[in-house]
Amino acid sequence: MGELVAYEAWHWNVVWVLLAMAIMGSAAAVLGCFSVWMRLGLSADVAAHGTLPGLLLVVALLGGAAPSPLWVLLGGMVGASLTLWFLHWMRRSNSGDAAMAVALSLSFGAGLGTLSWMQQLPGTMLPGLGQLFFGFAAGMPLSEALWLIGVSVVVLVWTVLLAPRLASVIHNSQAAQLLGEGAWLRLVFFALLLALIAMGVRAAGVVMVVGLVLFPAATARCWHWHWRAQLRWAALIGAIVPAVAVLLSAAVPAVPTGASAVCLHALLLTLSLTYCWGTARSAHGTDARRRNDNVERLA
């Protein structure tokens, strides 16, 4: 009987986590499309690394206790925001790649230094390194799964509502500036991106969460040229792949969820690129080139 209860509990927890990861993956994919069109993919990576010191700061403020999901969200967003601010500041006097390299060194150096410090303090409730950096969604408690679902739904709904305006800002930034829309739209977009990254870190890992943002957008790009269709494809791919990764991670606990999800995404992208290459060489080659030209103009 005890085994049956344990099995039932495991079963329902995995179902909730599966749902949470599917919605989170979908929201990350839709945000990822806009990130790539705004050429902010690597900045999202730097921001994801910046969540680590924020999370650890929260643990330190709570006296070493495990933080609640709300604290995780706040701490992750503060860490990522400060990292992005530093990146912006460094960009004013350095090239983009140098600014990113220094911002990454600062945020992740601070994060790893604090982590190794806190690991030596007695009574500190920290997850294992593998879980923290590469994710382990299958072991996520129900409360965290519900928080992840809530934040992901809010982010997804807001992004879909703002999608036409965001697309117009990307397509014609000068017109958006004249209308006074560019600045606040970018601010809202960054807030949504940082909220999702901060909440997704526990499930997908600090290092791997950016893979869930970047890969579906690239795969969707192989399947369709229109931006709305790309968003739909990305949302679909982004929902399915992390859900499969959770099942893999539940079946083989040694495999981290984030890493397996990114691996599956990379496999899917490789297959999609092969398909793209095949169609580009076919009779539709001219059509494909025209699509690429259109997409490049949008990007």
């Binding site: 993919g41 460094m90 140098a98 060194s105 230094g113 791997m208 984030g258 997409v295 990007a299």
Partner: protein, 293 residues
């Protein structure tokens, strides 16, 4: 136990790492490809795992060949992605390195390679704190040349990487300067051997940074010196030598701070050396950037 048992080899490795990474960092910075160093350090993990599975050893020779092949694979994959996905630019690199790093993590987890220095601690923090040399019994032993034969292999790897970078730079310097300042002429003219030579230098430095600082902080070893020296340098040789000098000072300074600061301040816990070096480098780079304005 005295300081040379724990610190002598680590400091020497950091000196060689600083020289190699400073120079390669300048080359990458001049091509606006510093994040390539970060990407390559990530992508090195699956290469090391495959090298271990195929050759059955984590020897540094096999690791070096794996690193070289990885650099060329990454460059090819990134250029393919940029052609296939127009408008992706730097994000293509993000796709390549996060995909390869994830593959490496899955391989490490599935193959259970916890006893070959590929567990998360080594991947994230590097192996600087493991460089212990117990053979010399007193400080004067360090003056005997013969005793250095028993030094950890990482020291010779660091020296070898430094020599590869220096020789590559001397052989490749005219091509490199042409490539940096006239890429339209140089890129089709140089051909495969020059590109392979450049990849050799980059792989030597990135492998060394990976060993010292781990996969995620290797970029700090490559970038800090180059970014700081860029502010003060007025010529190409000044930039190269300045970056190496600054990288050595940051590496050794960070290590000394990490090992001595807890003692000086009577702190109850120790500091991580790789993280302290990365932090020191980033803070100094930020100060230099503030001066540049």
């Amino acid at each position: 136990m005295s300081w040379w048992h724990f610190d002598a080899i680590a400091i020497l490795v950091l000196v060689f790492t600083g020289i190699a990474c400073g120079r390669v960092g300048v080359i990458l910075h001049a091509q606006r490809q510093l994040m390539l160093g970060d990407g390559l350090a990530h992508a090195l993990l699956p290469a090391l795992v495959v090298a271990f599975v195929v050759l059955g050893s984590t020897g540094l020779g096999a690791a070096f060949v794996a690193a070289w092949l990885t650099v060329m694979l990454c460059q090819w994959a990134t250029s393919c992605l940029r052609r296939a996905l127009p408008g992706y630019g730097g994000d293509a690199l993000g796709l390549v390195f996060s995909g390869l790093f994830a593959l490496g993590i899955v391989l490490v987890s599935v193959l259970e390679l916890d006893n070959v220095h590929l567990e998360p601690e080594h991947i994230l923090f590097g192996q600087l704190e493991n460089l212990i040399w117990l053979v010399p019994s007193q400080a004067s032993d360090l003056l005997h040349i013969g005793i250095w034969g028993s030094a950890p292999v990482e020291l010779f790897a660091a020296l070898g990487a430094c020599v590869v970078v220096e020789l590559g730079l001397r052989w490749h310097s005219p091509h490199l300067v042409a490539r940096l300042f006239d890429p339209a002429w140089a890129t089709p003219t140089l051909g495969a051997p020059a590109r392979a030579g450049l990849a050799l230098m980059v792989s030597a430095a990135v492998l060394l940074a990976f060993l010292v600082a781990g996969a995620l902080l290797a970029v700090a070893m490559l970038s800090s010196g180059a970014v700081i020296a860029r502010v003060f340098a007025r010529s190409w040789p000044q930039w190269l030598h300045g970056a190496s000098t600054v990288s050595v000072l940051i590496g050794v300074g960070g290590y000394v701070l990490a090992t001595r600061l807890p003692e000086w301040l009577a702190l109850p816990v120790g500091l991580n050396a790789a993280a302290t070096i990365a932090l020191l480098g980033a803070v100094l780079a930020a100060c230099a950037s503030a001066l540049k304005r």
